[in-house]
Amino acid sequence: MHRGVTFALAAASFMVAGIGVAAGNIEGIAHTCNNCHGYNGVSAGGSMPSIAGLPEAYLKNIMTEWKTGKRASANMTRLISGYTDEEIAGLAEYFSKLPWTPVAQKLDPKLIERGKQASQGCAGCHGPTGKATMAGTPNLNGQMAKYIELELLKYKDESFAMPSAMMRMVVKPLKDEDIPAIAAYYASQQ
């Protein structure tokens, strides 16, 4: 078998913060995302999400919201603001076309059981086992547990600007102990 070698050659030009830059090489940029999100977008670090195989519209929207200041992030708002809209679209397309890969994790069975009960409000969109049932909704099966927990904390903490009213509504009544449990439950699903 041969491995295809590909490079995007720059053609069009875009402006970033007054600097004219060539567009292209989405794969090259995507490789730099792997540093934190794992090789091919599949995470090996609990607090960092896998991004391979998430819906294209979801990825594009999230990055655009960071860039335009509609969505808070402790860190991504900075790096993403340096990329062009075309690069953001290209990255969303690139990672959405990689396969969704649930990651096996060491998790507490009691927590998983509690999470199964507590996650019923999530199932409508994310599916009872984390396989999203609604277009544009991210899968949660085998997503990193710590990451899910931290996302839920962001929605619960009103000081953190998260734009989804639906998520806020569903997360608000959750007990603090339910949050790591829901995270463990979805992370355990393959």
């Binding site: 670090g45 402790a74 860190n75 931290l150």
Partner: protein
Amino acid sequence: MSPFDRRQFIKALAAASSVPALAFPAIARAAAKGKVVVVGGGYAGATAAKYVRLLDDKIEVTLIEPNKTYVSCPLSNEVMVGHRDIKTIEYGYGGLEKRGVNVVHDFVTAVDRAKKTVTTKGGKKFAYDALVMSPGIDFTYQGIEGYSEAVVEQFPHAYKAGPQTLLLKKQLEAMKDGGVFVIVVPKAPFRCPPGPYERASLVANYFQHHGKKKSKVIILDANDSHSKKGLFNQAWAKLYGWEKEGLGTNGMIEWVKGAEGGLVTMLDAKTKTVSSDFVEVKADVLNIIPTHKAGRIAFQAELVGTSGNNFEQGWCKVEPMTMASAVDANVYVVGDACVAGEMPLYGNPGAAFDMLKSAHIAMTQAKVAAAAIVARLNGLAPPEPVYANTCYSVVGDGYGISVAHLYRVVNGTFKYVPAGSGVSMMTMPDKSPVPPIYRKLEAEYTDGWIRNVLADAFA
């Protein structure tokens, strides 16, 4: 993803691309397209070896590294204060071997750039079409009278992770309450620019948790400013009683800048006392970080600058498009040994030459070099790189901060992109304090980051 899927995917992506005039040229499929030798198996070298293989498995890749286990410098401060086991920052080379990298545990003694060969201590010789040099750093041990390599066990630097980290840990643990832990910081450039200040934070945190609240950390800094200074000072004020710069304050951490006596020039090993033109400090634990230069083999290969300022002399200049050495197009220098780019470093215009020396940017550089090498060996032009960096520092319990950097290549030079760069927020946009969740998230992200960079480089 199988190689077949990958090719299909890229074809599909090219066809579906909404960006006009993007081209993904088809590649010739000749057998054994060339030989790549990588010298040094840290973050940069491991990543370069892996990504060359991933982009084109018809290229032969040999990685030469003396050690069988890599110990990460990032997060080694957490090992030093007992927050994590050293095993959590170690990695072997089996993952690279599985990807078809020929891993040789040996010590490179000579690079012959004219003959394009690399010779090892074990008497082996390797020919290359492209050479990746990732030798990391060495220390000069110069500038402090009474200090030399001979005393590094007594005064550990802990700036190459491993035994040195554990040595400093032991000294910290043995220090009595009321003791003084002194960190001597060399003139820039040095690897991990926030490292000494993260270390000071974690040592103060250690004092709080281990009944040593009367102890102090004193940073004697050869420089007049440092990485994430505003954020560190803010965190120190919140967590460790920081008042202001200079000696004799009430906080657990004191910082003395170069211009006010931080530039240490003398060590009295007998009394563990360091001094400069203006100050003299007696330490209980003395952590001297020596000045840095590119790794030894970069000097033998004559890839280092021999004149100019701190950022030019002793470091390897590279071409922005490819990470190729400025003096040899067949050699690519990645990681801490290179100097790359414009970076207005802490407001010091004389220091405006460097990308930060971090594991994260080292891996980005390695991926750029890998793509450029694969392009060249396939007779293609290199793709346009974008360089991204992230440095997290954990400064207290559930308290993390970071800095991000983005660089592009414009007209053949590195261009720092301020829009994609910057430190964690000091305040919210309306000037209110940053809610604790931001700091908690970044502390958590630090752990996710280390797991992923290690896996991305070595697995």
